[in-house]
């Protein structure tokens, strides 16, 4: 909320300077986000009068003037010629600071001392151009800070939290300022001169039973002359971001800003039957609001209706047919209290938020309704003339009765960690306008004022005590902690390991938005997605179910600035529709593109391929301790059908990896293939559950045998390897593939593989004969199972 310091001061006696006040408000919970000085970006400039002017003894173009303030006479060297004895001027004294950081000090100019400077409007930052120095009106007082003469003010921007509706006005802010600074709050009084007929003869008001309106007050002013407001009213409204309309409407806005009570002025002659009824809208009713829009209403919305139908949306906006216009003669001024939740619902349904609805939603002071009405009526009489009808209408069936709150100093001491004393509590609550008394030793009974709707329980009062006492006066005391076991950190630790293993493998971590465009979502060919009801942009409408498309976008972005070699990964949840709440599955995805090793003088310039990708996944699984992982040939919409592997961990599907589908390579304009993987964290974490166990070092020697054989290309090596191992699980320690060869001397449709089998027993040294015997069975298996033609064994 924006407010003027000068306006605030109308309610204060002994207010501290603006910036000091801002600091104090901030430190007691009303954050002042900015303080802007208006009309005077300078200091130490006072009004003065020219006594005499002579030519400077040593310079033809300069004058030497005697200038007096209220207390002294100074001699000033000046380059301008437009002043004469008797003129009032703005004089910058030594120590003054002018806009642009220009500082004034005593100095010798051509051998004569100058004790200040007479300023031009440009020098004061008041205009862009000026001729000569500024000559002030003849009646300007002497020795006055020139800023006050200019009407200098400070506009403060306050961040008001939703609980402090009482601060959404000048008066409320002044009350708070008084409470937190010790300045005195002096309220304004308004008396309405009631020269007209009794109000009952002019208008009638009724509230339908159970309508969410607890008070409705109104006054009638007859014979107003609608016209523009005086300049000072216009200026004040405009400084607070409100456009001036006409004198009557401006008064309602001025009162709203000053008291926080939203008002509405109806043209009484345009209310059918000269009466209003506060009631829910009927099904099918409509209203044209003063912004010219027609709005459909429903019974959840409260309206002010005349005989003809809705005339205003209660607490939100008036209707166009009954608004005050240039021809208006009689006005009905409304000051009411509508239920916050009702106003909020209406405002949200119609997407219509106003200064009025903003305040009603947060809660206005029901006890301030009549006072604001009187203020408005008396100001209308002043600005628009006319006669006020006798007496207000004031329908207020149930008076507000805030609850009395018991406050225990002992409990407060425990919560705040300081020794809270009864006198202190009474003093602080008193300053805040809360009537408080000690009801029994250590217990204070407190009755908050009606404008503090946020104070309903003991904890609310504890906060009040703490904030006025000052948070920074509360000591810091480390807690005495009870030791308790906890193991909630496991998932986080696992994710950390994934990140550290992948970054160790050269992958840089990226972070993408969880929501993507429908197009990007559809790329991975999934079914329905989790969609946002109210997306910000089309690029962010569906929660992604796959991470790979985001990585492709990242790749495109980096390629665009010639970053050709990439290893990136992302660890994030993917979202799929579930029963009620969508299901979140954490995934880790990676992308490889370009050279296998970083480009440089000493590495081969090979491009990455499928097996680099698989290798990364294999090392990741190994690093995570995942057991029983298997890869199977698979298909996936994003991937090359012949270069795709599906991962299974612990028998469960756990992700895919492979070469990007050639269609996608084209789409992204890639010259080289790109490789990706996307793994599910949960099954991998489950497969990694077992802790590491030490296995005794081998005590007996190994014996290795190599086999080279030609076998059909269609036989997966994984099957061959498994068959070899199973030949003798006890003595075959490892099976390593060390060569794959296609081409010369190898029949087409086949390939040559070379494998080293290492034999070792954990119980004894194997004899040569035993090794030969097992190896023979391996060779036989290869021949029998896979039709392999063994060339060397």
């Amino acid at each position: 909320m924006l407010f003027s310091y000068n306006w605030l001061k109308e309610y204060l006696e002994g207010a501290p300077p603006a910036r000091e006040l801002a600091e104090r408000l901030t430190m007691t919970g009303t954050e002042i986000e900015s303080v802007v000085e208006t009309g005077g970006g300078f200091t130490n400039v006072v009004t003065a009068q020219v006594v005499e002017c002579e030519r400077h003894p040593n310079a033809d173009k300069l004058s030497l003037c005697k200038v007096r303030t209220d207390r002294e006479e100074l001699s000033i060297v000046c380059g301008a010629r437009n002043m004469k004895p008797g003129d009032k001027v703005a004089l910058a004294l030594p120590g003054a600071e002018l806009p642009g950081g220009f500082k004034i000090k005593k100095s010798k100019i051509r051998g004569v001392e100058s004790q200040g400077m007479m300023c031009s409007e440009v020098e004061l930052g008041l205009k862009d151009t000026s001729e000569g120095i500024m000559i002030l009106p003849e009646d300007a007082p002497l020795g006055v800070d020139f800023r006050t003469l200019l009407g200098a003010d400070f506009m403060m921007e306050a961040g008001i939290t939703p609980n402090r509706a009482d601060l959404l006005s000048i008066r409320g802010m002044a009350r708070e300022a008084a409470a937190v600074t010790g300045a005195a709050f002096k309220d304004k009084e308004f008396r309405v001169e009631e020269a007209g007929r009794p109000v009952g003869e002019c208008a009638a008001v009724s509230i339908e039973k159970d309508a969410p309106c607890r008070r409705y007050a109104a006054r009638v002013v007859d014979g107003v002359t609608i016209g523009p407001s005086p300049d000072d009213v216009k200026a004040r409204l405009e400084a607070h971001g409100v456009r001036s309309i006409n004198n009557v409407v401006d008064v309602t806005n001025l009162v709203l800003l000053e008291t926080g009570q939203p008002l509405h002025a109806f043209d009484l002659d345009r209310l059918d039957g000269a009466s209003v009824n506060v009631r829910p809208a009927r099904e099918g009713e409509t209203i044209i609001t003063i912004d010219g829009k027609e709005r459909k209403l429903d019974p959840s919305m409260l309206v002010i209706a005349d005989k003809n139908g809705p005339a205003a949306l209660a607490g939100v906006m008036g209707g166009s047919p009954s608004e005050v216009t240039d021809s208006t003669k009689r006005v009905l001024i409304e000051s009411a209290w509508f239920e916050p939740s009702s106003v909020r619902r209406t405002s949200r349904k119609l997407s219509l938020s106003t200064e009025s609805s903003y305040r009603f939603e947060r809660g206005v002071d029901i006890e301030g309704v009549a006072k604001a009405l009187d203020m408005a009526a008396s100001l209308i009489l002043k600005l628009a003339g006319g006669k006020a009808a006798k007496g207000p209408i004031d329908i207020y069936p149930g008076k507000a009765a805030p609850p009395e709150i018991a406050f225990s100093t002992e409990r407060a001491s425990r919560v705040l960690g300081i020794g809270v004393k009864t006198e202190q509590v009474l003093d602080i609550l008193g300053r805040l306008g809360i009537s408080a008394r000690e009801s029994s030793p250590g217990v204070v009974s407190a009755l908050p004022p009606t404008y503090r709707m946020d104070l309903t329980t003991e904890i609310d009062l504890m906060e009040e005590v703490a904030r006025i006492f000052g948070y920074n006066n509360i000591p810091t005391t480390l807690p005495i902690a009870t030791v308790a076991p906890g193991e909630t950190g496991k998932p986080t630790a696992f994710k950390r390991r994934i990140r550290s293993l992948l970054s160790g493998a050269g992958f840089t971590e990226v972070m993408n938005y969880s929501f993507v465009s429908k197009e990007l979502f559809a790329m991975a060919g999934e079914g329905a997605g989790v969609e946002l009801l109210n997306p910000l942009t089309e690029e962010q409408t569906v929660m992604r179910a796959d991470l790979i498309p985001s990585l492709l976008e990242n790749m495109a972005r980096n390629l665009a600035h010639k970053r050709e070699d990439l290893r990136i990964f992302e660890l994030a949840p993917a979202f799929v529709p579930g029963e009620g709440v969508p299901v979140e599955k954490w995934k880790v995805a990676g992308l490889l593109y370009g050279l296998r090793y970083e480009p440089g003088w000493s590495f081969p310039k090979d491009a990455v391929d499928f097996f680099d990708t698989k290798g990364v996944v294999e090392r990741l699984l190994e690093g995570l301790g995942a057991e029983g992982a298997r890869f199977e040939a698979a298909v996936h919409p994003l991937l090359h059908p012949g270069k795709t592997a599906a991962l299974k961990a612990g028998g469960k599907p756990a992700g895919i990896l492979g070469e990007l589908h050639p269609d996608l390579l084209d789409r992204y304009g890639l010259r080289k293939p790109a490789y990706v993987f996307e793994l599910d964290v949960e099954p991998i974490e489950k497969a990694s559950g077992k802790g590491k166990k030490y296995r005794e070092l081998p005590r007996f020697p190994e014996s290795a045998r190599d086999i080279a054989f030609i076998v059909s290309e269609g036989v997966p090596f994984g099957d061959i390897m498994e068959a070899i191992r199973k030949t003798d699980l006890k003595t075959i320690e490892t099976v390593e593939l060390f060569d794959v060869y296609y081409g010369r001397n190898i029949p087409s449709g086949t390939r040559s593989l070379a494998v080293r089998v290492t034999y070792r027993s954990r119980e004894r040294t194997l004899t040569n004969q035993e090794v030969e015997e097992t190896h023979g069975r391996v060779v036989k298996t290869l021949f029998e199972r896979f039709k392999a033609e063994v060339r060397v064994s």
Binding site: G417, P475, F507, T508, E531, R557
Partner: protein, 338 residues
């Protein structure tokens, strides 16, 4: 005898200086004089023919000669080795200014780095780490945290909706409720995670990261909150000044905003701190009794504090990143700096 010793020495040393340019001749010369059948050995053999009274003295002289020659020849030989080695090593010289060769590790995202750093500080203080879903029920995101339906406090957090009852969480605070529902005090937990708000401009990202923390036990006070958060901020920012201001969040009371002395200007006022000399860094407060009631804790028995901070903001301050959007553009030129 002594003359022979002298002659032999002179002769041997002359030969040494002649042979010193070539290792082989040096070795041959050494052999000739000091070998098993060399001149010196011959000399020793000849000692037997001397009268016993001379034998001892002559023996000493020959042995001294042997020592001296050995020293001279070995010295020359090893000097030879040294210079040869020097030559060889000189040839093996590499250009050490060429870049080193290694597989370069990737970089972790600055948000991850800061999250890790904060987690480490709190786990060091005995806090556990918890997680919660990013798509949340209205109940956990608002209702249980004392944001009633139709309350303006909900406007503090612009919300993305999946349905009427399902939202993208606007803060990590729902994890408080989930952890308290499952466990019993004492609790000391932090919950890092991704959160979403329907807001996007220079200083707001629709997706960002928070770290929530809370501590619940008997007799936890506001003074405890101040101590733990001051300690945390001092560790995170290296001994900075900290101040606490009253503020409002529905799920805490008394509520506080915690500022640190501006790390950019040191408190003199700058653009980043909007001239105030302070930077808002944490929201905090004592857990509201209504929140305890929602999870079935007796607010008369337990008290606690909670706090939350934005990870991006800390990352930007600590790394001096001026533009929030950089964090989600995934430009390698940016990411590889961390």
């Amino acid at each position: 005898m002594s003359r022979r010793v002298e002659d032999l020495e002179r002769e041997a040393l002359q030969e040494l200086s002649r042979a010193s340019s070539e290792r082989e001749s040096l070795r041959e010369a050494r052999n000739r004089y000091l070998g098993r059948k060399g001149e010196v050995a011959e000399l020793l053999k000849g000692l037997g023919s001397l009268p016993p009274e001379e034998r001892k003295k002559a023996g000493e002289a020959v042995n001294n000669l042997k020592d001296r020659l050995e020293e001279a020849f070995d010295g020359a030989l090893s000097a030879f080795d040294e210079s040869e080695k020097r030559e060889r090593l000189e040839k093996e010289r590499v250009d050490i200014t060429l870049p080193g060769r290694s597989i370069r590790p990737g970089k972790l995202h600055p948000v991850t780095r800061i999250t890790d750093e904060i987690e480490d500080i709190f786990t060091g203080l005995g806090f556990d780490i918890a997680e919660g879903p990013e798509v949340e029920l209205d109940y956990y995101n608002f209702e249980a945290l004392n944001f009633p339906k139709d309350h303006p406090a909900r406007d503090m957090q612009d919300t993305f909706f999946i349905s009427d009852e399902v939202v993208l969480r606007t803060h990590t605070s729902p994890v408080q409720i989930r952890v308290m529902e499952k466990g019993r005090p004492p609790l000391r937990v932090i919950a890092p995670g991704t959160v979403y708000r329907r807001d996007s401009d220079l200083t707001h990202s629709p997706m960002f990261h928070q770290i929530e923390g809370f501590m619940v036990d008997r007799d936890i006070s506001f003074a405890n909150l101040k101590a733990v958060l001051t300690l945390f901020l001092e560790r995170l920012f290296g001994g900075t000044a900290v101040r606490f201001r009253p503020s409002f969040f529905p799920f805490v009371e008394p509520g506080a905003e915690v500022d640190i002395r501006c790390v950019i200007c040191g408190g003199n006022g700058c653009r980043v701190c909007k001239g105030s000399g302070w930077l808002e860094i944490l929201g905090a407060g004592m857990i509201h009794p209504n929140v305890f009631r929602k999870v079935g804790y007796d607010p008369g028995e337990y008290s606690g504090f909670a706090f939350g901070l934005g990870v991006e903001r800390v990352a930007m301050l600590k790394f001096g990143i001026g533009d929030l959007r950089l964090l989600f553009e995934n430009d390698m030129r940016f990411l590889e700096q961390f």
